[in-house]
Symmetry: C2
Subunit: 240 residues, 2 copies
DNA sequence: ACTTTTATTTCGCCG
DNA sequence: CGGCGAAGTAAAAGT
């Protein structure tokens, strides 16, 4: 089987292709670049994204994002890969037949960035000042009726019952509405609505105005900060 | 040879290693991340940078930049790669022995972004106003004695003999000194020193003051601008 | 060595 | 779809 047949078959199979060999590379699109003769790795993924990696440097020297049009061909002695996307062209000339390695990869896992919300909660329980000076959380979990779970429940410096909602990403309108539903349930349970704090890295503009009209406070809290606290409190050992 | 022996040998040889297999990935450092079971490609380059690529998405899901400490090991049944850099840790657990493919890649080529100096010259000859309004270059090449080749030679709007030196990067003191040597040679050849223009994207502070004392003019000219001119003049066809 | 700027940035969210 | 901001940004350029 020729390198072209192998590559085409792998691409239609949804495999990941790694090609290695001496090549010259041209890119022209938003910018333009040339890379003279040298040996590189070319990686073509199943979403038809393509990467050219030199033997050093963590970033690809050239690339094309997913949904590129990938074509294999030959001109004279050169083995050619063309990857086009809109008016952007990446062209790889292999001076000899490249080594072609095909990988069949299945990967459905979810990627979790930073601390999870669970770890943000752990950080707040270890260091409640992250939320507000003088805040004292209850350590046990608390349910808000059947609506859902309250992230952190406690008492602020003035002794007022306080609910804290944690978000890993920028809080949007929906997040604030969810918190408001919790507050209604808790208000019925306790006779009066508790104080509420939304702790998140940021809020969207619409969420911010909804917070204001709802009388909910906002505290800027990032997963990164939480992680640093966890590390300090738990020591520097990586619990992995 | 076990996968570890293979990988260690390849790394000490300065080869590029591609590993493929079912794995779990943990990262902890400036931030933290977890990635559950799935099949991925791991690429270790000879500068000891490491990339983890899922079968889709043009960006690595996890990585570590060059000069990381790369360690291979086994714990129970898991095959492990640890990549540490400062207080950042990337840990890859292969659930089965990974497929290991080793590539010996030599690559000394220079990466040229946008236009090369030759193409900048071509652009200036096609569109002399890039250097200065009313500038008229001679099309033929010109040597500056045995010191070197003059980039562009011509006559400015006042009819004054003018030498243009092109640089694709920020011009430094050395570049200005080289131009001054050309000017001396040309001055002897023509009886008086021609006017000189240094055209480059920018100049360093020291080079700028040397330009001033040398009476050499500076024109900001980027390879990008030249590329756009070339494209406009030559048409949109990719001449690759 | 440190700081600032750039990028074919990419990625996410908002309007 | 354009615009704005953040990124484990990384890498280059200037100081």
């Amino acid at each position: 089987m020729t390198w072209i047949e192998k590559a085409r078959k792998a691409l239609s199979n949804g495999s990941v292709i790694v090609l290695a060999g001496r090549c010259i590379i041209h890119y022209e699109g938003r910018a333009a670049s040339k890379l003279g003769e040298g040996e590189r790795l070319v990686i073509i993924k199943k979403d038809r994204s393509i990467l050219v990696h030199r033997p050093t440097g963590h970033e690809p020297v050239n690339w094309q994002p997913k949904k590129s049009k990938i074509e294999f061909g030959e001109e004279d002695d050169a083995k050619i890969i063309r990857a086009t996307r809109g008016n952007e062209l990446l062209k790889i000339y292999f001076l000899e037949e490249p080594e072609v390695v095909v990988f069949d990869l299945l990967d459905d896992a979810e990627f979790e960035m930073y601390a999870s919300e669970a770890e943000m909660k752990e950080a707040v329980l270890l260091e409640p000042n992250l939320v507000e000076d003088g805040f004292t959380p209850f350590q046990e979990e608390r349910r808000a009726g059947r609506v859902g779970r309250v992230d952190v429940f406690g008492i602020d410096r003035e002794g007022k019952l306080t609910v804290v909602e944690l978000k890993r990403k920028s809080a949007n309108e929906e997040d604030v509405n969810q918190l408001r539903r919790y507050l209604e349930v808790l208000g019925q349970e306790f006779g009066r609505k508790p104080r509420a704090i939304l702790a998140a890295p940021s809020v969207t503009r619409t969420a911010a105005s909804l917070l204001k009209t709802s009388g909910i406070d906002f505290k800027c809290l990032t997963p990164k900060t939480c992680m640093e606290v966890l590390r300090k409190k738990r020591g520097l050992d990586f619990h992995v």
